[in-house]
Amino acid sequence: MALSLKELSQKRDLLSAGHRACAGCAGSTAIRQALLAADVPVVAGCSTGCMEVVTTIYPYTAWRVPFIHNAFENVAATISGVEAAYRALKRQGKIDREIKFIAFGGDGGTYDIGIQALSGAMERGHDMLYICYDNEAYMNTGIQRSGATPHGAATSTSPAGKKIPGKREFRKDLTSVVAAHDIPYVAQAVPSHWRDFMGKVQKALSVNGPSFINVLAPCPRGWRFKDKDSMEMARLAVETCFWPLYEVEKGTWKLTYKPKEKRPITDWIGRQGRFRHLMKEENKHVIDELQANVDYKWEQLLKRCEG
């Protein structure tokens, strides 16, 4: 399917309206885009978290595809099992359809508690796409820090205190960690660059074997910005090179979008309440640290992409 707005607008949304995500939630946008991108029937799973909670309050479900939620840390293992069942039943001739499998997990369920199951599933080579919707903290339980939370961000468990100005650690580069599994396809994306993201989903679903896409999902509640600005927050994350758009195809790293001019990190964090405390004079060093880290990671990525 060509990724034109005209065609997409005629396609039936596979995540129905009426779910209970917050206004401006980019996580649900990313899921809609991913499901719309699929050309073949998909079975989806989701780890415990915002997206699972808001889409499946019994007796309702927003999922128009077969869906399973199991627990917080095990969506990769759960979908491994679904895919294994598919392989077994297909081999026995009990099923002849082509079906693809997508596991969705938030950053908590992917970077932290679910990383073991994710790593295992990637290593075993299941034919599945794992999409992490990374909203950079445990938003469902009340904005606690995760391994994905940026340096300096204030969360419920890394508050901006009198002595400690937000999260002290730097975020985990999970996309690189997954790429180190040498799976056929790994990418980073944002829902604001929908054609880039959906193209990546199509590519990921077309490979035979595991694939992984880390999609940044700005969260108005957790990041403290106006809910109309979600896509702008995603765009700024890309323009500041905090969240570069790239893909790793069979070990080859490639930028899929390069900002014309790398904007300072303050252009992104200055719009978010979770970084407000960093604007105080005594915390300016945290911004410098964050900028230095973004610069370092960006240079590292450029080198990888140059091969």
Binding site: V43, V65, A71, G81, A84, A85, L89, Q116
Partner: protein
Amino acid sequence: MGKIVALTGNDAAGTAMIQIRPDVVAAFPITPQTELMHKFAEAVADGDVDTEFVSVESEHSAMSAAIGASAAGARVMTATSANGFALMWEVVYIAASYRLPIVMTLVNRALSGPINIHCDHSDSMGGRDAGWIQIHSENSQEVYDNLIQGVKIAENRDVLLPVMVTSDGFILSHTLERMEILDNQGVQDFVGENHPQHTLLDVDHPVTFGPLDLPDYYFEHKRQQVLAMEQAKGAILEVGREFKKLSGRDYWLFEEYQMEGAERAIVALGSTAGTVKETVDALREKGEKVGLIKLRVFRPFPKEELIEALKGIKVLAVFDRSHSFGGFGGPLFSEIRSALYGSDLSLQVLNYIYGLGGRNISLKEIEWVYSDLKEVIETGKVRERINYLGVRG
């Protein structure tokens, strides 16, 4: 029809799995379950079964993958022990609540800590409230027979619950025993095809598994699990009758051994029942009125049937191979004593905690228990309600 072989408990379980030919097996190695998985993995490697064998990175993922595969409509089996089962614990409950007929061999081993690889029942008892049917085995034959029956019990439309079949670690799992195996076709015909009603792979009829279930519905769903467990009893009996036709072997909720005219009895689970039988035979030869109830089905707990079987018993010893620290006796004791309270029976019930961490239990010790029970009848007094058998201090 059958074939006489010598197999360890693990090989017996592996053989049952190979003959059942599940669609998916997901498992992670842990002593003493390992050889069971080796046996099955060899069958996969040799092409004797066309099962998808998912060699997962943890027991948590083993049960998680089993849940995914079962929800997808596959017939799924797994196996674990002790800490592996404990790591699964979260998803063990989820498997039952999603009504997925997964069948698991639990090769009983003591839970850490301290770490110990030998048999006790702290692992299976830790899962007693998880909503799984729990079937205990005395020997390799029963491990094998229970697994084959387990598939059919689990998939019964009125049940749809996961089944755990236990096998005492090392005592059964690593001990060669004479037993009879059925032919492959016989097992295949017995278990039949799995016909799940709703599956994830039915993409034309999408269903949602595992939604958020709040106070307005959760309780009703739990109540349905209770009903399924109640209905399981009938299914266990029905499958037992069918299995007898195939194998000639009798299976019920429990086995009554020398209970005719008995005044003193022991209730035990698993391999210990075999040791108790020896003692019962020896004492019966001396004219003592002793018997044994070997509990096979612990979940659903056969309350009415046990009360009926205990008529005429004056003193009962309940053997627990696990403990509930700070509780009133071991789990089996609490359950049985509670079942008897309010019945027409007025027997004394004593508890014997034994065999923790694989500590051996001897014929002599079992004889002591029967003599303890005799003393209770003669004196009318119970010296100790909760006793520890074969432990220093």
